[in-house]
Amino acid sequence: MSEETTSSEDDITAIETPVYLTYNFTAGEATTRFLHQVRKGKVMGQRCPGCGNVYAPARGSCAACGLPTSEEVELGNKATVQSFTIVWIPIPNNPIQPPYIVANLVPDGANISFIHLMSECDNDSVHIGQRVEAVWKPEEEWDYAMDNIRYFRPLDEPDVPIEMIGKVPLSGWEGKA
């Protein structure tokens, strides 16, 4: 290779060639029922016939017992903070501005957490065991999506003791042991 060629042409080390993927989500029986209910503004769970634990959003089976879940259970609008993180970086393809709180929340009547956004709160005062409630989007915006709940906001209720997190019944928590 001549000296002239090496000095006039840079090495080609990378060319961006993006790949785009479009997914068709096949919900299956359990998630189909869940998504139909969430479109009507209700969060539904399913109870395991073995251990009795309630899953939400239900995926159709209890992974601990290996049994199908079929009994539908309506859950409350209230939930408990199992844990959380304050995120200081943006999420790819999500316009949300940091810092924001992503919490692992257990809805009343369920025995497993899902993640959702917390807002209308002082980030520094969010804590494990805190009580929160769902704030839904306006009804006309409801779709087959968990995003129908805009976020959860703190409730003025006593904290749930650690050993009770994940076991609060649908009747709720009023500070009674």
């Binding site: 997914y23 992974a63 844990s83 200081w88 970086i89 999420i91 025995n111 968990m146």
Partner: protein, 385 residues
Amino acid sequence: MQYAAVTGIGQTQYKARRGDVSIAGLVHEAAQNALDDAGLGWDAIEAVIIGKAPDMFEGVIMPEVYLADALGCSGKPMLRVHTAGSVGGSTALVAASHVQSGTFRRVLTVTFEKQSESNAMWALSNPQPFSPHLNAGAGGYFAPIMREYMRRSGAPWDTGIKVAVKDRLHGSRNPLNHLQMPEITMQEVEESPMLWDPIRFLESCPSSDGACAMVIADEGLAKEGPKAPVWIRGGAMRSEPTMYAGRDEVNPQAGRDCAADVYAQAGIDDPRKQLDCAEVYVPFSWYEPMWLENLGFAEEGEGWKLTMDGATSLDEGGDIPWNCSGGVLCSNPIGASGMIRFAEAARQVRGDAGAHQVVGARTALGHAYGGGAQFYAMWVVSVDK
């Protein structure tokens, strides 16, 4: 079951970007280094076992197919292993099991990641309709679990900072590392930006390019090599679902079961006393105290005491140094990270770990985990068969 031993170890230089090589060049480099270390040519290999993290990272689907040529696989069997972040460990175990079963006498195993050509954060943040789109990468997933560990254990708030400093000081003894931070201080880590509270920037692993390879051979062939064989005394894998009611995400059952299995095979009942060092998958600082408990080096709730007392520090003369190589916190080519732990455990036992050698090390643990802390792979290696 046949005895199996590591007879060759090859690593690449780990960097933010290895612009000088393609993915094929990267894996070839690690493999060639392993063959050189074992004193072998390509013809000596009967089969190649390869692993990497999800294909979505680099966007190259089934990369093993195009890498066959670079790894000398023409006319030989090639197998791909995939267990998310733990894949480096499970690939080594799959390779070892092919020798232990007598299927092959000598195999090459290779793992890699080229994070500079990938976008792991994007690949781990796919929207699903039954969940709000809030998946902020691996750190966002693990941060609440670390927070729960902090609550239950009552560990001092700066335990994670201590791990971040300790592993970087270890790592500065290892010239292969991506991060070289010999002057790092507790204050520097504390003042680094918060990413996913409670995880700061300097409490997180970097994104690296790199590959790691090993040659694994049966007893007869292992004794022919130029270096002392490193005997695989036990190997175990376990998995569990990401989510189920009552799952202990801080101290997962699959990790405890996997450790119990590998220790039983190796005749270990007190890992802190009977192991000389450990290479454990710690991508975020707080996972050191958490895994100290999960792997039985400390009672539940007390892992942080070993960290804070310096028990896991080479520089402080600890009795059970963890991640003398610098660990995942210094280099993280994801698919290879687990195999680097396994290979570094083998280097310690062989006594050729250079400036990060634990003097007199005879038996060591290599560990990897992946997914939502639901896949585990571990091995115990020793100079003694």
